[in-house]
């Protein structure tokens, strides 16, 4: 067999580059090859989805059990709808479960946290199936609203405590 040093090193170069590419895809981009994961889709109506994005995680107690697959507004009710794909192995979720939009940390990304509900056949609860709707939902907390409420309540308590005395200028503005 003819052995050429140049061909060998070029072969090594290409193999090294391919290995680097595969490592980048797997380790850095977190690409997985399970294209057809067994999952079922449920949806929920929210008042406000905040900055929830496609492929945001769906978690129970911090463990990822699925991903957000679609976000749209119901064309008739004009209410935001979030569709989530939940892995098939978590198929024992009661229909009384609560889905709420939570934030990881103060400035972290938003995700859907599911609080499992009770399961009792006599009371008419069922397991969530493909296409079901989660009735009990909690909307995203919008920080600006919260700050607005806080400022308002601070002003109000200020004015009530200081109404006996002179009262500050700010409080009078609010009233």
């Amino acid at each position: 067999m003819k052995f050429s040093k140049i061909e060998f090193t070029v072969g090594c170069f290409i193999v090294a580059a391919i290995i680097c590419g595969v490592m980048l895809a797997l380790k850095v981009a977190g690409l997985t090859f399970d294209f057809k994961t067994d999952s079922y889709t449920v949806h929920g109506y929210f008042d406000n989805v905040g900055s929830l994005k496609l492929r945001s995680p769906v978690k129970i107690g911090g463990v990822v059990i699925g991903r957000v697959s679609n976000i749209y507004v119901d064309p008739e009710k004009l209410v935001p709808v979030v569709e989530m794909e939940i892995q098939q192995k978590y198929n024992m979720l009661s229909s009384e479960s609560k889905a709420s939009i939570l934030t990881a940390g103060l400035i972290g990304e938003q995700y859907i946290g599911i609080t499992p509900g009770f399961y009792d056949e006599d009371m008419g609860t069922t397991y969530l199936k493909d296409g079901d709707r989660i009735n009990d939902t909690g909307s995203a907390i919008v920080l600006e609203d919260l700050i607005g409420k806080f400022l308002y309540s601070v002003n109000k308590s200020d004015s009530s405590s200081e109404s006996s005395s002179s009262g500050s200028g700010d409080a009078e503005n609010v009233q």
Binding site: I6, V10, C12, F13, I14, V28, G30
Partner: protein
């Protein structure tokens, strides 16, 4: 009179530029279009990948490692002020994959391989090797230019991939092993912010575009130079300057289009 002279000069300059672009396109067209002869050209291609790609690995690996390490160090000192050093992996990976990987590799490639190609082809022209090839009914465009072009287009994306991985490893080396960022947060933050198609594939597209640009400029400057020693030195300088500027300009355009 002065204004007339100015306009004449401008016209002459524009005409020279345009005709150079035209000659470059014709050169590329004739060297690439035609019946492919894999058996005859394959050994040439392997040889050129060795010269252009394999011999550039050392500079790519070393500079990738140090750029990643510097990014890790600088990023850590800024992020630690906000108690956000967990985002270090994300920052290093995004910076290297989106911008530094393709751009720096293309710049290094222009300096390391592009100038060498220009000088080589220029010397072939100055010593009339290209003409004598034509005398022997061997098309110098197909025999000399084409394998070098394909070798560059194949090598630069591969070098970019190596650069990117080594750079991220360098960032990890400084951030995790030296400065004590948590290993798990470093990698998972990176994985959650980097998308295979949006980031890695766009990185690959960028590097292919840069490869075509750099190698085309290098080959044309060599093929079109004035065959004297001054001409060769001018052409090699032109290759490095023009391809660096072209890469940086194209990078802005591509980034504006992609992200």
């Amino acid at each position: 009179m002065f204004i007339l002279n100015l306009i004449l000069k401008l016209g002459g300059w524009g005409q020279r530029r345009l005709s150079a672009i035209g000659r470059a396109t014709i050169m590329l067209f004739y060297s690439l279009v035609g019946r492919p002869q894999f058996r005859k050209n394959f050994p040439q291609l392997i040889r050129q990948i060795y010269v252009v790609g394999v011999q550039s690995i050392s500079i790519i690996v070393v500079s990738g490692l140090f750029i990643g390490m510097v990014l890790g160090l600088q990023g850590f000192h800024v992020l630690v002020d906000f108690m956000a050093e967990g985002a270090l992996g994300q920052m290093v990976a995004l910076a290297i994959i989106r911008e530094l990987g393709p751009v720096v590799t293309a710049l290094l490639f222009a300096g390391r391989a592009g100038s060498a190609l220009t000088a080589e082809i220029g010397l072939k022209k100055a010593t009339e090797q290209l003409l004598s090839m034509e005398m022997m009914a061997v098309d110098p465009l197909r025999r000399v230019i084409a394998p070098r072009f394909w070798a560059g287009v194949i090598s630069l994306p591969l070098l970019t991939v190596i650069f990117t991985l080594v750079g991220i490893f360098g960032g990890k080396l400084v951030g995790v092993d030296w400065l004590g960022v948590d290993d798990g947060i470093f990698w998972s933050g990176m994985q959650s912010s980097i998308d295979f198609w949006d980031d890695l594939m766009m990185c690959a597209v960028k590097s292919v575009v840069f490869a075509i640009t750099v190698i085309w400029i290098a080959l044309f400057n060599g093929y079109d130079l004035v065959p004297t020693s001054v001409g060769i030195s001018k052409a090699t300088t032109n290759t490095v300057v023009q391809s660096s500027l072209a890469v940086l300009g194209l990078d802005f355009v591509l980034t504006a289009v992609m992200f």
